[in-house]
């Protein structure tokens, strides 16, 4: 078995199996929560629920994150706000606006899109890796995070970090030859895909529940969310 074999397997059948487990797992998580039942809200609105929801989304990831000083969260803890924000932005830039990954999406969806030049994406990846290190150190020393973090939190950090760092190594042709680097990157990615439905990384889906609820709760009271 050569590294080329490993690579063919990791980016081929294993990747497809991982994607399947990822999608099936996320659907299971969603369905299990949705089917727990929802009661209608009979309380009369003062303000607009829909308006509250729109504002909540605008403020949380569409516009306000880019003008952070208006947010109380930022004032309380600017370092972590920025580190967390850069981490998420970096993930988006690398996974959606980076050519290497856009081509993967193209092979899955049948269409692609324009992407950012590699130097920018690469710089963003480096900054994201630094942000992850900052978040890791914070989780080690912050008293609240020390209390609430269990094995799951550390593993989540590690399993997201690995694809980032191996991707960076692959892009810069460091240490290993192409087939080895790429195989390791793909194995890390495949593992992450399988891990996500069993972990809190699934928050990217439940975000839409909690943010919508939040927008409604404050919108109906006529308070800025």
């Amino acid at each position: 078995m050569t590294w080329t074999d490993v690579l063919t397997f990791a980016r081929g059948p294993l990747f497809q199996a991982s994607l399947l487990i990822f999608i099936a797992g996320m659907i299971y998580r969603l369905v299990r929560v949705i089917f727990l039942g929802w009661s209608p809200d009979k309380v009369k609105n003062k303000g607009s629920k829909a308006g509250g929801v729109v504002m909540a989304y605008l403020k949380s990831f569409l516009i306000w994150p880019f003008i952070p000083w208006v947010k109380n969260t930022f004032k309380k803890n600017p370092l972590i706000y920025i580190a967390g924000g850069i981490f998420h932005l970096g993930l988006f830039v690398v996974l959606v606006l980076g050519t290497a990954h856009m081509l993967v999406w193209k092979s899955l969806l049948g269409f692609g899109w324009s992407t950012l030049p590699l130097p920018i994406v690469d710089w963003m990846a480096a900054v994201t890796i630094c942000a992850m290190v900052v978040l890791f150190i914070n989780r080690l020393i912050n008293p609240v995070l020390k209390l609430i973090s269990g094995p799951a939190e550390w593993l989540n950090l590690l399993f997201v970090f690995l694809p980032m760092i191996t991707g960076y190594i692959l892009t810069h042709h460091l240490f290993f030859r192409y087939e080895v680097s790429y195989s390791i990157h793909m194995l890390c990615v495949d593992f992450l895909l399988i891990w996500i439905p069993f972990s809190r990384i699934s928050h990217f889906i439940f975000y839409f529940f909690s943010k919508t609820i939040h927008g409604e709760e404050f919108g109906k009271r006529g308070v800025k969310a």
């Binding site: 009661s39 303000g47 973090s149 439940f206 975000y207 909690s210």
Partner: protein, 422 residues
């Protein structure tokens, strides 16, 4: 699992529908909620982090509902919830939380921690783990109609006395009135000038209002307890009074939690609550000023030192009456009024709400939390602090005494009554 633990866990599980589950799933353990919590900020105790306060609810959810949780149970690696855990967490949830909901505003996922905390309190109530002081107050309200010793006779006498002493008309049990006003026993027993003030304002505005001998108490200790049956019982007393008098609207006077329960939750427990419009007195004052039904003497409070406004968590942040106090203060104290920072929906809780001030053992924690308010008021150089909640007023007056401060504490309704053009 003992009976106590089982009772609590059963309630946690029962309360977990999609609304609770999706939010428990959304938490990423980022710890931002702690940064917003005045109890954590003032004490540095990481157990006061809101995410930690609801940990037992999350564990119940994980162990009973999730695949990962069930596998962990099979493998024997789960942290089983014990009676000791519940007793410990009871203190965290009742002593060190005022349900101010600042954590909900700061959570990047938008999780409604305040409501989740209420679910934890429901479990605690079912397991009989409510702090003794708080439970005593609940029982008093069940038996006498009020937690503060305001029996029907005492209420009767106080109302007569206020009407007499301050020479105001307080219409009682008027059938067919438009508005039924329900005072809090905090005002009746501790800040009776508030009753006179509100009566004066409503009479000057020509409002067709009444108080009700059935609906004597607006404070809701069942809500603090987290017991839905008790909460509903106390709300039903108010609704019965309103129904009997045929009023269209119920006015909650200067109390925060009472307003939250009656305006923003009641209809989901008792659909008939929607038969009436429910509004806080702050909203009424705003309406009366805006419509010109009452006129205020401009600058009445200027020249007597800086005045600042304390936003009450359940009337401003979770009540929506944020602009009315500012509109009023701009008229009656255009130069004297200075905003604290942060303010409006981002304001800092007084530390006394949610039942905390009723629990003697929580006093040290409560006083610690108030230090944040002291810093805020001093930063703006205020000599007078005004507010729209009499529980906050209780906390402020108690802390002014405890910390030997020289502030004047008042209420917005009082200021409006004083500045009224008659």
């Amino acid at each position: 699992m003992t009976t106590v633990t089982k009772q609590a866990m059963d309630v946690f599980v029962e309360e977990t529908g999609g609304w609770v589950a999706s939010q428990l799933e959304a938490c990423t353990r980022c710890g931002m909620c702690a940064e917003a919590c005045h109890f954590y900020q003032s004490s540095g105790n990481p157990e006061y982090a809101p995410v930690w306060k609801i940990e037992l609810l999350r564990r119940a959810y994980e162990q009973r509902f999730t695949l990962v949780g069930k596998v962990k149970t099979l493998l024997g690696v789960n942290k089983r919830v014990t009676d000791e855990d519940l007793e410990h967490w009871s203190k965290l949830n009742y002593y060190a939380c005022t349900v101010c909901n600042k954590c909900s505003m700061v959570c990047p996922m938008g999780i409604d921690l305040g409501s989740l905390l209420h679910e934890v309190r429901a479990g605690m109530a079912a397991a009989g783990l409510v702090p003794a002081d708080l439970m005593a107050a609940v029982n008093k309200q069940l038996q006498e109609g009020s937690p503060l010793g305001m029996t029907e006779d005492v209420w009767d006498q106080r109302m007569e006395w206020v009407a007499d002493e301050w020479e105001v008309d307080i219409p009682r049990d008027v059938k067919g009135a438009d508005t039924m006003v329900v005072f809090s026993s905090i005002e009746v027993m501790k800040f009776p000038t508030n009753i006179a003030a509100i009566a004066k304002v409503l009479n000057t505005a020509g409002e067709k209002w009444t108080i009700s001998s059935k609906a004597r108490e607006v404070v809701n200790f069942g809500f603090y307890e987290g017991n839905v049956e008790h909460t509903k019982l106390f709300i039903n007393r108010i609704l019965e009074g309103a129904r009997e008098l045929g009023v269209k609207r119920i006015v909650v006077t200067e109390c925060g939690h009472a307003y939250d329960a009656l305006r923003w939750h009641a209809a989901n427990w008792i659909p008939e609550a929607n038969d009436f419009e429910v509004i806080h007195i702050t909203g009424v004052l705003g309406e009366l000023v805006e419509s010109g039904r009452i006129k205020l003497k401009p600058g009445f409070f200027d020249g007597k030192g800086t005045i600042t406004f304390h936003d009450a968590c359940k009337i401003q942040r979770k009540g929506g009456h944020i602009n009315e106090p500012r509109e009023i203060l701009k008229i009656i104290a255009p130069n004297a009024f200075k905003e604290m920072s942060p303010n409006r929906e981002q304001s800092v809780c007084c530390g006394g709400g949610g039942g905390v001030i009723a629990i003697k053992d929580a006093d040290p924690i409560r006083y610690d939390a108030f230090k944040l308010k002291i810093d805020q008021v001093n930063a703006v150089g205020a000599e007078t602090v005004t507010m729209t909640c009499s529980n906050c007023r209780l906390q402020f007056t108690d802390c002014v005494d405890h910390f030997k401060l020289d502030w004047k504490i008042t209420g917005l309704a009082q200021m409006v009554a004083d500045a009224l053009e008659e």
